[in-house]
């Protein structure tokens, strides 16, 4: 009997917490498809707000995807070989490098954005292009890619596999292509999902780095929250959810799979 009560109490509490997280999302979704949120759902269901958002903000949404995939490309090309180098080389220097590239996880995005602005703000062409935002996103997401790949390296004993391939005559570059990358694939995929998700949702850095011509999806969101009616802001949030939730689900599935192994 007492166990039952404890169970019911804990379940009730957990449901309450879940409601705190889920109810606002449901409110936002319903507001985004309601004709008039103030009058409630009986005023009718509509996609006009979604269409309006698409019309107003498709540039921002497009740019966000461009930046997200460009960030992914840079973190893959730079991060995957570096993860291999750091893992195989080991030693103090590697630890120092790893520590430094991980710092952007601890330092608030605002500080990094200020630092970039104060250093490169004077380079007009660069400052005004989307590449400036790309740089910020790269600095911020790089540690996720590098660490995700390094975690896999540590679990499959990549160093011995590398030596095995070398003993069979493969040159460093051949080994990297035939053995290192294929065996790092789970980490590369997990890191890629993470990079895309973080880049699409990044606001702290981006708000400081953007210009009127280089607005991203979250910058547009903040814009709409400040200046648009609630239904439009909600419809925009709804679009963001539709984009980000599949990525989150994929990431969660990955984590579960990794745990089972």
């Amino acid at each position: 009997m007492r166990d039952r009560l404890i169970f019911a109490g804990q379940l009730g509490f957990t449901l309450l917490v879940a409601a705190f997280l889920v109810v606002p999302v449901l409110l936002s979704i319903s507001a985004g498809i309601t004709v008039n949120y103030f009058r409630g759902i009986q005023s009718g269901v509509t996609l006009q707000w979604v269409a309006q958002v698409w019309g107003l903000y498709k540039g921002e949404i497009g740019l966000s995807f461009l930046i997200a995939f460009a960030t992914l490309a840079v973190t893959l090309v730079v991060g995957v070989p570096a993860a291999y180098g750091l893992h195989v080389r080991g030693g103090r220097l590697s630890r120092v490098i790893e520590e430094i590239i991980t710092l952007p996880l601890a330092i608030p995005g605002l500080a990094i954005a200020l630092a970039l602005l104060l250093t490169y703000g004077g380079f007009g062409g660069f400052r005004q292009s989307w590449l400036f935002i790309l740089v910020g996103h790269t600095v911020f997401t790089m540690p996720f890619m590098v660490r995700s790949v390094m975690a896999v390296f540590a679990s499959v004993d990549i160093k011995t596999l590398d030596e095995g391939a070398a003993s069979l005559g493969a040159s460093p570059w051949t080994r990297f292509c035939n053995v290192i990358v294929p065996n790092a694939l789970p980490g590369i995929l997990a890191g890629s999902l993470m990079v895309i998700t973080l880049s699409l949702g990044e606001f702290n850095l981006t708000w400081m780095l953007h210009t009127p011509l280089t607005k991203t999806l979250p910058v547009g969101l903040a814009d709409s929250y400040a200046s648009m009616r609630l239904e439009v802001a909600s419809a925009y949030t709804l679009i963001f959810f539709i984009m980000i939730v599949p990525l989150l689900v994929a990431m969660q599935m990955f984590a579960d799979k990794g745990e089972k192994q």
Binding site: T14, L198, F203, L221, T237
Partner: protein, 302 residues
């Protein structure tokens, strides 16, 4: 009786080697050593990091000391009453967020990991899916919950005839940070609970400990590393979070908002640089401390 070498049989090699021996090296052109290959792997990362992180951060430090106050700008965060009040405000808010998140996540995490019931997977999914919502979106969700057109306002209006609105106050920001932190802390604690040795609890019970005593003496102490790690993340994140504060508000005095207004509105580069460095050092120090205490890797979330 010793020293006789045993006969060595050597079977016909032709069975095993029908073709000529293979060349000793596959590609003699690839004379690059493994060492230099590793450096080539590391070089792009080092270049990118130095150019776009190390140099800018150094510049930030330099700018912070380059204003009318000189290096004294770094002390302003403590000496100037307005900045000091903001700092204290921010630390208190982050502390409150951390404690509340840990309590909520521990109760929910222990419950979810220790019981199997229909709908459990859905409940876990509901508690963890907001993991990567950016701060701005969280701010908007708090507005929908407790803002002028919010659900709580509507309910209190209907029940008590008075509309309660607190999204734009510091309590709204607290709720926002809570919303942001709960998913990742629950995940950490659930993982830690899963690794707990159930034998310890059974041993405590065999010694006569009540369920409460088992929780207090065995389970909670074993979860301390997870509390430290996830608590540090929640704290550092709450210190530096900008998106939520930006969406909610206009008038909440927290460090990130102060930096933002000093930079964009007052164009006070030196002070905003010095304050950012201060904020960065606090966040980094908390995480480094937690890491040295737990031996694990701890990182804040955007």
């Amino acid at each position: 009786m010793a020293g006789t070498a045993r006969p060595r049989r050597r079977l016909c090699n032709c069975y095993l080697m029908p073709t000529q021996c293979l060349p000793a090296t596959g590609a003699p052109t690839s004379a690059m050593s493994h060492r230099s290959f590793i450096w080539i792997c590391l070089l792009p990362l080092v270049l990118v990091t130095v150019a776009f992180f190390v140099l800018p951060m150094a510049q930030l430090v330099a700018v912070g000391a380059d204003g009318p106050r000189g290096a004294g700008a770094y002390l302003a965060i403590l000496t100037e009453p307005r900045y000091r009040a903001t700092l204290i405000n921010t630390v208190l808010l982050a502390t409150a967020t951390t404690i509340a998140t840990l309590m909520i996540a521990t109760i929910a995490g222990l419950f979810l990991q220790r019981h199997r019931f229909p709908g459990r997977a859905v409940l876990i999914a509901m508690l963890t899916f907001p993991l990567a919502f950016p701060g701005v979106v969280v701010g908007f969700l708090i507005i929908l919950l407790a803002g002028r057109q919010g659900l709580i306002g509507a309910i209190t209006l209907a029940l008590a005839g008075e509309k309660i609105v607190f999204a734009y106050s510091i309590f709204g920001l607290f709720l926002g940070y809570l919303y942001f932190s709960i998913p990742r802390v629950i995940l950490t604690i659930m993982a830690a609970v899963q690794k707990l040795d159930r034998g310890l609890e059974e041993a405590a019970r065999s010694l006569g400990a009540s369920p409460w005593a088992v929780q207090r003496d065995v389970v909670l102490p074993a979860l301390v590393p997870a509390f430290v790690a996830s608590g540090a993340i929640a704290f550092a994140t709450a210190m530096g979070a900008f998106g939520t504060a930006f969406t909610l508000a206009t008038n909440i005095d927290v460090l990130p908002m102060l930096i933002y207004t000093e930079f964009t509105l007052a164009a006070n580069f030196a002070i905003s640089a010095a304050l950012s460095i201060g904020l960065g050092v606090i966040a980094w120090a908390i995480l480094a401390l937690a890491r040295s205490m737990t031996g694990g890797t701890v990182a804040a979330a955007g």
